[in-house]
Symmetry: C2
Subunit: 333 residues, 2 copies
DNA sequence: CTGTTAGCGCATTCAC
DNA sequence: GTGAATGCGCTAACAG
């Protein structure tokens, strides 16, 4: 408050700044003018301490240099900013210890709420349970069914199912599945959706057609090429875009034309799919929307303070499939 | 502090937690045990208010869903975390008003320092000058020479010069330049480096060979294709990776083989270049390193408090060129 | 070794 | 309308 001492009492200035009705208009303008001149902003820590709230949320997530999480955080930030909140970031780099460390650090009253996307190694959730007792939180994307906290995620199962169906209906009897992110909920759901779709349409499920691509680019490329040569699939379902790129190159090396010889469908976050020639058929994860929805849910929690929407919005799902820029089918909810 | 009242005085607990030498070991362990049991963390706002520091830095930058800034922020976060600092993010979406709004909001003592990458429209720097009087800051990547604040950026001029030289030395007498980010310092330096290299090697500078690609993908594609057809260049220098992708597709449509008919060199942040076939020759901007260096510089400022390294580290530059995964030439400083 | 006190800057309560 | 007093939770100076 300081420099205001030039004339008035501390409390009067405080009231003036908050446009209280019990301050003369003349006094107010005088205060406002000086405040503007000095670029005065009430100290956030003092105000926060007083009000017992930080106007800040945090996001704990696996990886910054990742288009999915970048977009999700973009969505989170937009919602938060709309509410006048600040956003702290805590990338774990898929490291469980880092995640735990962040969780305990965030019990210091620095944030009013937080959003978490689990790191790769996280199998024990004590830190989240502890944290959740002190600050409301939402899980997004990298979730676990073993923990009773509100969640927002994509409908990976249904998306993979529909994508597989799409390939089958376009004449693919043999489909190569490029598996990635085995350790995540999304990775598991995608594979399961694919497998169930195969069964639904009476196609034999063959383990050889599932290529494990959680290796280096070189190894993945080798395995994909091998899979193409030895199985001669008519269709390919890639669980992440990067593998589709590798597969695309492998097809070219093998002189397989797309989509005549082989059709490719891929999960995708990057918006480069339409740059391909021919364009890739994609299942776009609405990362931005997930961030937004998850953040909205968090603010519902913050507003209603513990009101039991525990049973309401448990899981919010979405995804859609498109080829280049024209939609093949949409399942956005 | 609260629950500790079960036995001791508030200040004794405070001292015990900070492992003060003037507290009995027995008392300490008693305090520590309870603290652990209750997952106690000293309130950050109270401590911050007391100490007059926030242990927090902020980053104001144009775009989150952008591989360059994602990587830069990753670098910033790593350095900050190493120092025990928290990181707030403020994406402006290239909106000048947003940038100004953030700047004034951050005068509330919430942060000890900050890093800024200018938004597209920013031409007036009053908000930064005002802000810089209250909190130390560093400019990175999207800088301006019109403001006297420490800066960290890439050596775009030299990189474009070397890339052009590289093409010329590989037999390209006619080079198409795909221009983007005209409104940024980087965009201007890249073009100038290219032009100066042409002159240095006595190649005629022809405006027709500079394609303005700050449009939509469709328009850019059209202009690039037109440029290829009408000029028949042997080399292409793309100022961003996305344009290189478009150009690549255009070449294929025109049945131009790479690199036989035409050689492509591109600035790049994405690590997808090596996925191409044939691999793209790239000038990789070390986004991660820029973030790290800029953050280190900020912490120097914070530590030394205003010590006049104003004249020291003014600009830190770096970049290197490689083809696929093998380096063509490195100029990392 | 432990406890008492004061003050960081703000917003609220109550007195003038 | 305005001002003085209080406390948010913490730490550091000082007293016991």
């Amino acid at each position: 408050m300081l420099a205001k001492e030039l004339n008035l009492a501390i409390s009067t200035v405080s009231k003036a700044l908050r446009d209280s009705h019990e301050v003369k208009a003349e006094t107010k303008t005088k205060v406002w003018d000086l405040a503007k001149k000095l670029n005065y902003q009430p100290n956030a820590f003092a105000a926060g301490l007083r009000a017992q709230k930080s106007k800040t949320i945090a996001v704990i997530f696996p990886e910054l240099a990742n288009s999915f999480f970048s977009l999700a955080i973009k969505g989170i930030e937009e919602v938060a900013r709309g509410k006048g909140y600040h956003v702290l970031i805590y990338p774990t780099h898929e490291c469980k210890e880092q995640e735990i460390s962040f969780a305990y650090r965030l019990m210091d009253g620095r944030v009013d709420g937080l959003m978490i996307s689990l790191s790769r190694g996280t199998t024990n959730y004590d830190h989240l349970i502890d944290l959740n007792q002190k600050v409301p939180m939402i899980l997004f994307d990298r979730i676990s069914d073993d923990i009773d906290i509100l969640k927002v995620t994509t409908n990976d199962y249904e998306s993979a199912f529909i994508a597989t169906q799409h390939l089958i209906e376009n004449g693919c009897n043999k489909i190569l599945y490029l598996e990635a992110l085995k350790f995540t909920s999304a990775g598991k759901f995608r594979l399961q959706g694919h497998i169930d779709a195969l069964e639904e349409f009476n196609l034999s499920y063959n383990k050889q057609l599932i290529i494990d691509c959680d290796q280096s680019d070189q190894e993945n490329y080798y395995h994909i090429k091998h899979g193409l040569v030895s199985n001669k699939p008519q269709g390919i379902l890639s669980s992440i875009e990067k593998l589709a790129t590798l597969c695309y190159n492998a097809c070219k090396e093998l002189n397989l034309t797309i989509p005549n010889d082989v059709k490719i469908v891929s999960f995708s976050n990057l918006e480069t799919a339409h740059l391909w020639s021919p364009p890739l058929t994609t299942i776009t994860q609405p990362a931005f929307e997930i961030g937004k929805e998850a953040a909205k849910l968090l603010f519902q929690l913050l507003d209603k303070k513990q009101i039991d929407l525990k049973d309401e919005n448990k899981i919010l799902k979405s995804a859609f499939i498109k080829r280049g820029s024209s939609a093949v089918c949409e399942t956005f909810t």
